[in-house]
Amino acid sequence: MNSLLLGSIPQIPLAHCIDNFVDWLVQFTGFFNAITNFIGSINNAFQWLFDIIPIWLFIVLVIALTYYVNRDQQNWGLLIFEFLGLLLIWNLDYWRDMTQTLTLVLTSSLIALVIGIPLGILMAKSHTAEIILKPILDFMQTMPAFVYLIPAVALFGIGMVPGIVASVIFAMPPTVRMTNMGIREVPDELIEAADSFGSTEWQKLFKVELPIAKTSLMAGVNQSMMLSLSMVVIASMIGAMGLGTKVYFAVGRNDAGNGFSAGLAIVILAIILDRLTQSLTRTRRKN
């Protein structure tokens, strides 16, 4: 029962328009194939690396890396947790799935970084860019992540790549936002100091703004990584392999046991990634 008022206005063919737009995009197959190949090769490189490293060595490397990034303030609990957690994943026979998920997260975070940080800088420097980007970022983050899967499949086929693309779109906004915020929060007097000594714009960016924005920038990177990890189950619906697939299948079979154990593996991976990126955030001093 539509009201009279609504009845008099024809329905806006929004869905139809978007369909047309996606169809129109599909004609640029060459372009999207190139992107698919590019993202695919980054993904494959990570996967190749994780496949040739023996599992025991991988565990040792993760622990050594954690030890190194926390060298001034050691966290023994975390080291023990990593050791036991990774052993558990190995024991449950989720190792390959875990590395696939890790690959997906690393690839999408890397792309989110490479695109997000320059966008954040642009946003901090240009008022116009901020006005344009802000609503787009809000849109990217609030649109249910499932929706990205549909055009992603149309443009990039099925498999890892569309999963990565959807993750990038969903996970990039915090990096952009936090970079923007970090640079805008650099105290005026430091900007004036940089200018008064005759810095060029690039010198100001690399010697003053980015180093001082580093903490908030890295917090953005950390958030992006966690968000892309939250996409792994969703991405598995379009064929991105990994722990997400195990969870997705377990849901289909009403298999609580396998669902939870794969979920637990995701949690372990999330904690390790989170703690590692957080310790990179801390500022380190020479003495």
Binding site: E192, D195, S196, G198, K207
Partner: protein, 414 residues
């Protein structure tokens, strides 16, 4: 034969080449700039213009010359436009109107690259809250100006170290700014500015954030450095005492306009209007001078570290007959007299506690000198200035009070 020894002022008058010339310099913030300009020409003041147009008059048609090698103090209360003015001299703020000539070259006609060269080679700035980069060490901070010019690592390190030595900061090269006290940080700020070997130093309220003792020290040090380096210094201040002390010439601003420019002597003897007069009256010493303004550094002995021998040695080195005894937290315990200490040393005793005289007159930093006058003239021991935690901040000796009351800073220029 009569030989006259030339004084600083005379030397300057014979060698008065213009370093910086400012013509009709104007800055209006906000919209309706032309309307605001028109109103200011009609003689409306800052608040009227703000009310009618919404535009804020930052600086209104300032005209002045700054001579080579002088300390030119721009003075005014907050909102008078002095900070805007100094930022227009290196174009951190772009003027709405007017000209800035440095060595005859018009800064307003320069493109970005030329302006950058001037900022790199000709002038450096020192900031009120220091503006040091928190992620860089002291040495790296001092190197900044040279680093961005592409000077190689060895040369810039050498120059930065020299500059740090000039301001009296050695041994802190690898510390970070937040590990240093305010006074030390500002010395680093000054060193960073000096490392470029600029001809002009712009100092924006450079000592305002420091506590009184440090401020006095820094003023003395600036005069000392100026004696050696002969820079042209443009110094922004809201403190007339400071302006009178360090300025060769002073320019007083009020509500975006220049009220008077002249030597400290001129300003004290021929104030241009009531505003300046009122300003000067406010320096009427005993009223504004507080204990904090006139206190000097005492010779202190930490009782937890020193026995009679060390105490005596320190007293000899400092040429004092009274030493102030404090504990490790700088809490004042009392004073000792040199004669008593000598006696202890002769008797080969190891503890100075028995000879400490605990009856010391004390006061606080913000007590006006006028309240202390009577007591000071009666007691023999200098007043100890302490804070609410009973920590010793400084002492007041009779000579310093009388000097300040007699207007010592002023008489220096007479």
């Amino acid at each position: 034969m009569f030989i006259s020894i030339p004084r600083m002022g005379d030397l300057m008058s014979t060698n008065k080449s213009t370093k910086v010339e400012v013509k009709n310099l104007t800055k209006i913030f906000g919209k309706h700039i032309n309307k605001a300009k028109e109103l200011s020409r009609q003689g409306k003041d800052k608040s009227e213009i703000l009310k009618e147009t919404g535009a804020t008059l930052g600086v209104d048609r300032a005209n002045f010359k700054i001579y080579n090698g002088e300390i030119f103090v721009i003075m005014g209360l907050s909102g008078s436009g002095k900070s805007t003015l100094v930022r227009m001299i290196n174009r951190l703020i772009d003027p709405t109107d007017g000209e800035i000539l440095i060595d005859g070259e018009n800064l307003m006609k320069m493109d970005k690259k030329e302006l950058r060269e001037v900022r790199r080679k000709k002038m450096s700035m020192v900031f009120q809250s220091f503006g040091l980069l928190p992620n860089r060490t002291i040495l790296e901070n001092a190197e900044y100006g040279l680093e961005i010019q592409g000077v190689d690592k060895d040369t810039r390190e050498k120059k930065a170290k020299e500059a740090l030595e000039t301001v009296g900061i050695t041994g802190y090269n690898d510390e970070y700014p937040d590990q240093l006290s305010g006074g030390m940080q500002q010395r680093v700020g000054l060193a960073r500015a000096l490392a470029n070997d600029p001809e002009i130093l712009l100092m924006d309220e450079a000592f305002s954030a420091l506590d009184p003792l440090n401020r006095t020290d820094m003023q003395d040090q600036l005069l000392d450095i100026q004696e050696r380096l002969h820079k042209t210094i443009i110094f922004i201040s809201h403190d007339l005492n400071e302006a009178l002390k360090i300025g060769d010439r002073i320019m007083i601003m009020k509500d975006a306009r220049v009220i008077q420019t002249g030597t400290p002597e001129d300003i004290l003897t021929h104030p241009a209007d009531e505003y300046v007069e009122e300003f000067i009256e406010n320096v009427d010493r005993s009223k504004v001078l507080t204990a904090g303004n006139v206190m000097i550094r005492p010779m202190t002995v930490n009782i937890e570290k020193a026995g009679p021998r060390l105490t005596l040695k320190m007293m000899k080195a400092n040429e004092v007959s009274t030493a102030y005894i404090v504990n490790a937290e700088r809490k004042l315990l009392g004073v000792v007299d040199a004669n008593d200490v000598i006696k202890l040393v002769r008797e080969k005793k190891g503890d100075i506690t028995p000879i400490i005289q605990t009856k010391v007159p004390t006061t606080e930093e913000d007590t006006p000198i006028s309240d202390l006058m009577d007591d000071i003239s009666q007691t023999g021991i200098p007043f100890a200035v302490i804070n609410d935690k009973k920590q010793l901040k400084g002492i007041i000796v009779r000579g310093a009070v009388l000097g300040a009351l007699a207007g010592n800073e002023v008489s220096d220029f007479e």
